[in-house]
């Protein structure tokens, strides 16, 4: 017991000093922490949304929509390739019914060439050698493209990665806010924005796919059939935003993919509008199509809904334009942001929404801190009354334990949540258990008539078994909590796990050092415990 050489003291004190140093930035306000000298650590504990206030959204991809969008872009790819490629293959009767792309090759001698070209377009997926689309010929001159399962999975994965970036750009165009946007599982995106108290604006930004297309209006379509929702060959029927249907050509003139800029503006009547600019390729295409179709109407389509169908008065050569509709300044603004950030490759639904105001969060922090301090003081009082000198040692260990938990959380950038505070208070209560075990054991050994040194030695040694087993079982519980639990359970488990490690260290090693130093100096004849 007396054997506590200098290196051992350092081995105990060094981690403690480092831990305390790490805890300091988290205990001061952010503005003060920024003024600390540069050699000080600057990592701080993150506050969860329940403490900092803000919005939490869990988004899930609409799998049906994902398949639909995939089919649409495949249609564009295939028609462009076959009609433009060399040799030119003329196709017609394009349909996307039944989740597959099917069309007729007008010249039946070209069917084999078409299949070859389409196979070349398809991509291998994974290691199994399967491809993303199955190409097959039905009825001699009709070709069908069926999405494969692997292809759908791959497309969803790619779409989720793109969607995450698009969502991030929409919420935080400047990239300055502390937002969290991460993929979760195969189909979900978790969005956390501190400080936002009205999630409606947030949802307006994320809720729109913002798929913008310009298509020519089919003027030859039979209005009666269009009203019933039936489209002539090569056209499709879309709903208008002010009600009614309209037939437009399937072929896309230009799409929102070719936008370089979009911002909220006002039209000549002073109504909110969105002005946009195409990139070079888009501008050229837009110029060519508008030149060829002067006097005819074209449709501006957003997420498969026609916003307006103006006539082309003069060719639009500059590659810039304006979208009008029934916008408010807010809705025009959020649409402009959505368009500028690119379209979402898949529609996202809000599955879970939690918004906590900053005041409520601040109130929770204040009460949590007060409760933690009072609880610590109460436990310290209890320890000192029960164990005297040894209670003082246990209390010092307890305070250091609290600082170490904060320090370790800061290093790992862990997030402190409300249940985390509860875990913290529970850890303070439980951390004394190791000291209680040791001190009770020392009492017992003294009662059995052991000498001072012997009683201390045996007390620490015999209590270790129980401390070890009890903490391992708690670690198992905390680890499983973290692995299987979600949200609050994890916040709780993190604090618990850190607390177990630090409490064993402070309650066993640190107090042992204090006791050894005291015994060496005071040489007590009897133990008063």
């Amino acid at each position: 017991m007396l054997d506590f050489p200098k290196w051992k003291i350092w081995a105990v004190m060094l981690p403690i000093l480092i831990g305390i140093l790490l805890a300091i930035p988290s205990m001061m306000p952010a503005s003060e922490a920024a003024k600390l000298p540069s050699w000080m650590p600057d990592a701080r504990i993150n506050l969860g949304l329940d403490l900092a206030g803000g919005s939490h959204l869990l988004l899930e991809a609409d799998a049906l929509d994902a398949a639909k969008q995939r089919l649409q872009s495949k249609e564009e790819e295939v028609t462009t390739d076959l009609r433009r490629g060399d040799p030119k293959i003329d196709i017609g009767d394009v349909s996307t019914a039944g989740g597959r792309l099917s069309f007729m090759v007008r010249d039946s001698t070209q069917v084999d060439a078409a299949v070859e070209r389409l196979r070349a377009l398809s991509q291998p997926v994974g290691l199994s050698g399967s491809r993303d689309w199955d190409v097959r010929v039905v009825d001699t001159n009709r070709i069908e493209l069926v999405p494969t399962k692997d292809g759908d999975a791959r497309a969803l994965k790619d779409a989720m990665t793109v969607a995450r970036d698009v969502v991030r750009r929409r919420i935080d165009p400047q990239g300055t806010k502390e937002t969290t946007v991460i993929n979760q599982g195969e189909r979900r995106i978790l969005v956390q924005v501190p400080g936002v108290e009205d999630p409606e604006a947030l949802k307006a930004l994320i809720g729109q796919t913002a798929r913008l297309e310009f298509k020519l209006v089919d003027l030859e379509a039979d209005q009666n059939l269009v009203a019933q929702g039936r489209a002539p060959v090569g056209s499709q029927v879309l709903p208008m935003i002010d009600g009614g249907n309209i037939a437009v050509k399937r072929r896309v003139m230009v799409s929102g993919d070719q936008l370089v800029d979009a911002r909220q503006s006002f039209d000549q009547n002073g109504a909110p509008a969105i002005s946009f600019k195409f990139n070079n390729a888009g501008a050229k295409r837009f110029a060519r199509v508008t030149q060829e179709n002067v006097g005819k109407p074209f449709a501006i389509i957003l997420d498969n809904q026609v916003l307006s169908a103006p006539n082309i008065q003069t060719p639009i050569l500059g590659g810039a334009g304006e979208i009008t509709g029934n916008f408010t300044v807010e809705s025009a603004n959020s649409l402009a942001v959505s368009l500028a950030s690119g379209k979402l490759p898949v529609k996202l639904n809000v599955m879970e929404e939690r918004t906590i105001s900053a005041e409520l969060g601040a109130d929770s922090i204040r009460k949590g801190i007060i409760a933690s301090i009072v609880a610590t003081l109460a436990v310290i009082g209890w320890m000192v009354v029960t164990y005297g000198r040894f209670g003082v040692y246990a209390s010092i260990a307890l305070l250091i334990n609290a600082l170490l938990i904060l320090g370790i959380m800061a290093v790992f950038n862990a997030t402190l949540t409300l249940p985390g505070i509860a875990g913290f208070v529970l850890t303070i209560g439980a951390a004394v258990d190791a000291n209680v075990l040791i001190n009770e054991r020392i009492r017992e050994e003294v009662r059995r008539g052991r000498k001072v040194m012997d009683a201390l030695e045996t007390g620490y040694k015999e209590a270790s078994t129980a401390i070890f087993d009890a903490n391992i079982t708690n670690t198992i519980a905390a680890a499983l909590m973290f692995y299987f639990g979600s949200g609050p359970i994890r916040g709780f488990a993190v604090v618990l796990m850190i607390g177990i490690v630090t409490s064993v260290f402070t309650a066993v090693n640190f107090t042992r050092m204090l006791v050894a130093l005291w015994v060496r100096k005071a040489r007590p004849r009897a133990l008063y415990v």
Binding site: I356, K367, T386, E440, D469, F484, G485, G487
Partner: protein, 315 residues
């Protein structure tokens, strides 16, 4: 200064004398708890059944009946309104709307707009909406976390001690969790994700207590090889009694402070852990110890494994 000693040095309580009585009591209460949960059910929060909650602090105290009427007039479903802390803060809970999940949060939007329009100066301090699908997953995750934590722990104890001790720990945990469920069923306190965290804390604590007592039983089984099992259990329980009380009281002190001074939002969590500490202390004496008698633990149980004596890390 005289130090406080809760348990006098020569304490020798015959705990095991009442073991059958305690067993009957525990079985009755456990069964009653399970029956209560089955009949009366639990007040599950939106985390586990889906739905929406809007928490609002009004500028002046409002008439709850009037507020109820106005919310009902919105046509957003059957709302339940509860005072939350003081007479100006209310929690409006709405059921999960029928139809697709996308529609779920539109109700919260509606209620937010209503509060802003009808009660100037009111602050919506929290709005939550959980879809049916997500709530099912959360419930499943929560149940799995508790289940696997219990099994993992029982396996560790089996490995460190003997199978009887593993079974004893598992039964003890089951007893504690059942009683807690009964408590939440009687009080109809809301069960949310925070409460699951509390259950896990209770599992951890009850176990801590059980392990400490088991550790002493193991030690005494090796030391007093001729002693009969009942006196041996009594001896072990008496030797650890002081520690059991001191630790339980420290945790209860910390939790009582948190309950009185801590944030309102985690009141349910705190009260659950506080009660769990109490139940855990009882069960580690009256469930986990006597079970060893019924499972036939004898000093010979530890004969075969002398190599388990040493503890890694013990200096």
């Amino acid at each position: 200064m005289r130090l406080l000693k809760l348990v006098p040095d020569d304490t020798n309580i015959d705990f095991m004398r009442w073991r059958n009585l305690a067993l009957i009591l525990s079985i009755v209460v456990t069964l009653a708890s399970l029956a209560l949960v089955a009949v009366r059910g639990l007040n599950l929060g939106i985390d586990f059944v889906g739905g929406q909650v809007v928490r609002t602090t009004f500028a002046q105290p409002v008439d709850i009946e009037q507020l109820r009427g106005r919310v009902a007039a919105l046509g957003v479903g059957d709302a339940s309104i509860q005072a939350f802390g003081d007479d100006r803060t209310y929690q409006i809970r709405l059921p999960k709307p029928d139809g697709p999940d996308a529609a779920a949060n539109q109700v919260v939007t509606k209620v937010r707009a209503f509060v802003a329009a009808e009660y100037p100066g009111a602050v919506v301090s929290a709005g939550e909406s959980v879809s049916g699908k997500v709530s099912e997953e959360l419930a499943q995750d929560g149940a799995l976390a508790i289940l696997f934590a219990m099994l993992g722990i029982a396996m560790y104890i089996w490995f460190r001690f003997e199978w009887q001790f593993g079974v004893g720990a598992l039964v003890t945990l089951f007893h504690d969790v059942a009683m807690m469920l009964g408590f939440f069923s009687i009080t109809q306190l809301q069960v949310d994700l925070n409460v699951v965290a509390a259950f896990l804390a209770i599992v951890g604590y009850s176990l801590n207590d059980t392990v400490v007592i088991y550790d002493r039983i193991r030690e005494n089984l090796r030391k007093y090889r001729k002693m009969a099992i009942i006196p041996l259990l009594n001896l072990s329980l008496n030797e650890t009694l002081s520690r059991t009380l001191v630790t339980s009281l420290s945790i209860m002190i910390a939790l009582a402070v948190l309950m009185v001074l801590g944030p309102d939002v985690i009141f349910g969590l705190t009260i659950a852990i506080l009660l769990g500490t109490f139940i855990g202390t009882y069960s580690s004496i009256y469930i986990s110890a006597p079970i060893l008698v019924w499972l036939g633990v004898t000093p010979d149980s530890f004969l075969r494994e002398p190599e388990m004596e040493g503890v890694p890390g013990a200096a």
